[in-house]
């Protein structure tokens, strides 16, 4: 539905040249929800704006629904208003001089495919119903809460039934509780109408819960494209491991096939292909994969550590344990009887370790 090929964009700022996008490739198939995830300045918003036609790439091609909309090499550029897309902006961009109805009706009354008056009313009402704002048609846009403005922006983006929906951090201005609620709703709505969605966020939890496909970006490059599950379980590189979810990192060196020497002792872990003996590597393990127990269990290998801090979160507890001078963060389901200063057995399952060159 959306194909991006070798997209490149360079900004010339006062501080120098910024390579915002370096030959990005991305395919989003019909009906998919694709999330662009990365820290600020990684190029995710630039990518989205190029797809929207609000930014012009320097090189590469963009195709929406089989139609070439961007190809600087052959001088193809379809402006934003002719791309038949819907977009939700970070600031919502609700026009303050119009009421809710007028805002949502704008694409139908002023856009490319205008419809009859009665149809406008029907479709606006349907769109507002979809986002549960029915009955607020005559409200001035400025009288809405943040959450309501967000819903108006969504209704406006979907009112033309365009095949592609673009969202630029639409939930970042909402408070935490509302954000989680909207996340669920957003997924439900987009799936029910089958729209292809490209969604930008810097929030990894949002990316994992919303996307069919998550695309992690940094410094204008795509580092990994995979399902949320895959991204979390098998991060392709150190940056993805660091950026998505919590991770403990330990420096080490490869000493043989499947063997890494580290301050925690020799760890038997799968070493990626091409990493030869003697190479310095980084070992990584998720906090929830570390088990901390008061005493060693029979038949399970464990290191001895000391609890240095304990943080109770209700459904879980975060423990910091020091093992051979390395501080590891462990996340335990429920609570633990261990207290700060106590010695404990720390289980580090070999198959949970990731090795990054």
């Amino acid at each position: 539905m959306i194909s991006i090929r070798k997209l490149r964009k360079t900004f010339y700022a006062q501080q120098g040249v910024v390579n915002a996008l370096r030959d990005i490739d991305l395919e989003v198939s019909e009906g998919d929800f694709c999330v662009l995830l990365g820290p600020s300045g990684c190029g995710k918003t630039t990518t989205l704006r190029c797809v929207a036609g609000l930014e012009r790439p320097d090189a590469g091609e963009i195709e929406i629904a089989g139609r070439l909309v961007n190809a600087p090499a052959s001088r193809v550029y379809v402006p934003a208003e002719k791309r038949a897309i819907g977009m939700v902006f970070q600031s919502y961009a609700i026009w303050p001089h119009m009421n809710v109805f007028q805002n949502v009706a704008f694409p139908l009354t002023q856009g490319q495919k205008r419809v009859s008056k009665s149809q406008v009313a029907d479709r606006v009402r349907a769109a507002l119903k979809r986002v549960q704002l029915d009955g607020l048609e005559d409200r001035p846009a400025t009288d809405l809460s943040g959450g309501q403005q967000q819903r108006v922006a969504m209704a406006r983006a979907m009112v033309t039934d365009s095949k592609v929906l673009l969202m630029d951090e639409p939930l970042s201005n909402l408070d935490a509780r509302l954000r989680e609620q909207m996340r669920v709703e957003l997924r439900k709505i987009t799936k029910s109408i089958g729209v292809t969605t490209l969604y930008v966020t810097h929030d990894q939890a949002e990316a994992l819960s919303l996307g069919d496909k998550v695309c992690v970006m940094n410094h204008g490059e795509i580092l990994q494209i995979a399902s949320p599950n895959e991204i979390y379980a098998r991060p392709a590189n150190l940056f993805v491991a660091q950026f998505v979810g919590e991770m403990n990192f330990v420096k080490g060196a490869v000493t043989g096939p499947g063997k890494v020497e580290s301050p925690l002792g020799v760890i038997a872990a799968t070493v990626p292909n091409g990493v030869t003996t003697g190479t310095e590597v980084t070992l990584a393990i998720r906090p929830e994969h570390i088990e901390v127990l008061p005493a060693q269990r029979d038949g399970v290998a464990a290191s001895t550590g000391r609890v240095t801090s304990r943080n109770y979160l209700g459904d879980s507890a975060l423990l910091e344990v020091e093992v051979n001078g390395v501080t590891l963060l462990a996340k335990l389901a429920g609570d633990t009887a261990l207290s700060v200063g106590q010695n404990a057995a720390v289980e580090l399952p070999a198959h949970r370790w990731h090795v990054f060159p």
């Binding site: 609000l54 195709e63 139609r67 977009m87 600031s91 961009a93 026009w95 001089h97 002023q110 400025t142």
Partner: protein, 586 residues
């Protein structure tokens, strides 16, 4: 596959007709820049040209440095420069001494009558400086000044104790006149200051006065410095006070010298000499403007924008309320009330005298009734033309320039923004002299000399800097995404402009339209420099009456001028307060 792609690209190119749009915008921006370069550059070029020529404008003479020699080898010139500097420094000092506490009191404390004080400050700007100067002469002149007469009667003095005819007297009137402008420039800095910065000082155990001195002043220091430079730049170029007080007392500054060189009471105008004096003013103005721009940029680093809406917390004055009110009303008295009262009093009397039983019984409306006969319809019509044409042309150009500067990626948008700022740096009197020279020397190509149109042109050039500053800020306030949301919704560029941008900036644009109209209405320096028999406006009529010594007639016209301005501002404030609510939301 290859063929298919090509096919699609062809379709894309056809549908994407507006891929020509960027070229269109660039072309349009180029045209507009070219027009503005001519509009703004030509008068400046004329000043430089005339400084290199002798004789009357249009005379075919070779270029020479004679004018510079005449001017810069005369010791008198340096005396005048010193006068100018002294006048500028003292004026700005007086302004800041009043304006900084005034801003703090009004923006950060709970002083009562805030709205009234704002309106009075606005009226303070609209009272033409020359009328205020005249009012102070009527009070403090050694010959006719009412205060002097009264003091002489009271203490049986043989000579008048006060004399306005000095550099200090000039600086006093000018300094007081600058205060409202300085106030509104500083108010923005104080308003945008996060109150938690002050609160953090209080919770650190620091008192209120110390917080003002150690937190407020340093944080707003870049803004204060910028205002200082701006006022200094203006003070070097102002003409009204130096002309009305300085010329009769033979105290010259640069601006009055430029004026008398081009419009001498006897002999031929010496545009060359005016150009040579103008050159130094031009250099000073551009240097100070560059400094000003730098300071404003620095100030932006200090501005703490938190993004969340907060109401500036107001400091409770408590028992300090009365001294604070006293200070504000003392200022308003010398700025607005006293000058107006004096003019009103003088306008109702056959001749200027102290209040007495005899004076009260001789009060008359004669001078008001005689205005139409004395003035005639022409000046009123001309003034009306100015008030309609100047703001319309200025705002039209400003909106177009701001749209290019703020909203497009045109490569030379920075140049365009700087270009329209230049009139801030080039004093109005120089622009007017340059235009006059252009009209005289190139009469065939530029047949506007002696018409109202040339004044419209001068005013437009002068206020385009102000106009673009306001349209820039209004345009920035309209979040970029509001426009983009319109584009993504499928609306074409003209539709987005008409349905989204224009409605959102309408209130702000209308506000500056009226403001520029009022500034044009009260302007006298440029109108006077470009004055001939046919393009008299009301402000120049007052000036001519004053020159002829018609004090009651001047006073009557002055009162009418002030009342009209007050009514317009009052009505607009009331009407815009409703539209403004929509414009400010978002």
């Amino acid at each position: 596959m290859k063929v298919e792609t090509r096919n699609q690209s062809a379709v894309g190119a056809w549908e994407g007709f507006s891929r020509f749009l960027p070229q269109g915008v660039t072309l349009f921006a180029t045209g507009l820049s070219g027009f503005l370069v001519i509009l703004i550059g030509l008068p400046v070029a004329m000043v430089i040209l005339m400084s290199l020529r002798t004789g009357f404008p249009g005379e075919d003479v070779p270029f020479t440095l004679e004018n510079f020699a005449t001017v810069y080898l005369t010791p008198q010139t340096y005396e005048i420069l010193l006068n100018t500097l002294f006048f500028a420094v003292s004026s700005v000092s007086i302004t800041l001494l009043i304006a900084v506490p005034l801003v703090w009191i009004l923006m950060r404390t709970d002083i009562p009558f805030k709205k009234t004080i704002y309106v009075l400050l606005t009226i303070g700007i609209l009272i033409p400086v020359f009328l205020r100067t005249i009012a102070w002469i009527l009070l403090l002149s050694p010959r006719i000044g009412l205060v002097n007469k009264w003091l002489q009667e009271l203490f049986a003095l043989s000579s008048p104790p006060l004399n306005l005819y000095s550099l200090t007297g000039m600086a006093f009137v000018q300094g007081v006149s600058f205060v409202p402008g300085a106030f509104f420039m500083l108010a923005a800095a104080y308003r945008s200051m996060d109150p938690s910065l002050e609160e953090a000082a209080y919770t650190s155990g620091v008192g209120k006065l110390k917080t003002f001195l150690k937190i407020n002043i340093p944080i707003t220091w870049p803004a204060i410095a910028a205002v200082m430079v701006y006022l200094f730049m203006t003070a070097i170029a102002v003409f009204e006070v130096p002309a009305i007080i300085g010329l009769p007392a033979r105290i010259h500054v640069l601006s009055s010298l430029i004026f008398t060189s081009t419009t001498p009471s006897t002999g031929l105008p010496e545009y060359g000499i005016a150009g040579a004096y103008g050159a130094i003013m031009l250099v000073l103005g551009l240097t100070l403007a560059a400094l000003y721009v730098r300071l404003v940029k620095q100030g932006k680093k200090y501005t703490v924008i938190t993004g969340r809406g907060y109401r500036p917390r107001e400091l409770a004055l408590g028992r300090w309320k009365w001294p604070a009110l006293g200070f504000v009303f003392f200022y308003l008295a010398i700025e607005v009330f006293i000058p107006f009262a004096v003019l009103l009093w003088a306008s109702l009397l056959p001749y200027l005298q102290l209040p007495s039983a005899e004076a009260w019984s001789s009060l008359t409306l004669k001078h008001y009734i005689e205005i139409p006969a004395n003035v005639g319809p022409r000046p009123f019509i001309n003034t009306l033309i100015l008030m309609l044409a100047v703001p319309t042309i200025t705002m039209l150009l400003s909106v177009l320039v701001s749209w290019i500067v703020i909203r497009t990626q045109v490569s030379f948008r920075g140049f365009l923004d700087t270009l329209v700022f230049i009139p801030h740096a080039v004093p109005g009197i120089l622009m007017a002299v340059g235009l006059a020279y252009l009209g005289l020397a190139y009469r065939d190509y530029f047949p506007l000399y002696g018409t109202v149109a040339i004044i419209v042109l001068a005013h437009t050039i002068n206020w385009i800097a102000y106009g673009t500053r306001t349209t820039n800020s209004v345009m920035i306030q309209v979040h970029r995404e509001l426009e983009e949301a319109g584009r993504v919704s499928g609306a074409s560029a003209p539709r987005v402009l008409g349905k989204i941008i224009l409605p959102l900036i309408a209130a702000g644009v209308l506000n500056s339209w009226i403001w520029i109209g009022m500034l044009s209405y009260r302007e006298v320096t440029m109108s006077l420099t470009l004055l001939t028999r046919n393009n008299v406006v009301i402000s120049t009529v007052v000036w001519q009456f004053w020159g002829s010594g018609w004090i009651p007639q001047v006073a009557a016209l002055g009162v009418i001028l002030i009342l009209f301005a007050t009514i317009v501002v009052g009505t607009v404030r009331f009407a815009l307060s409703r539209i403004g609510e929509i414009g400010s939301a978002s």
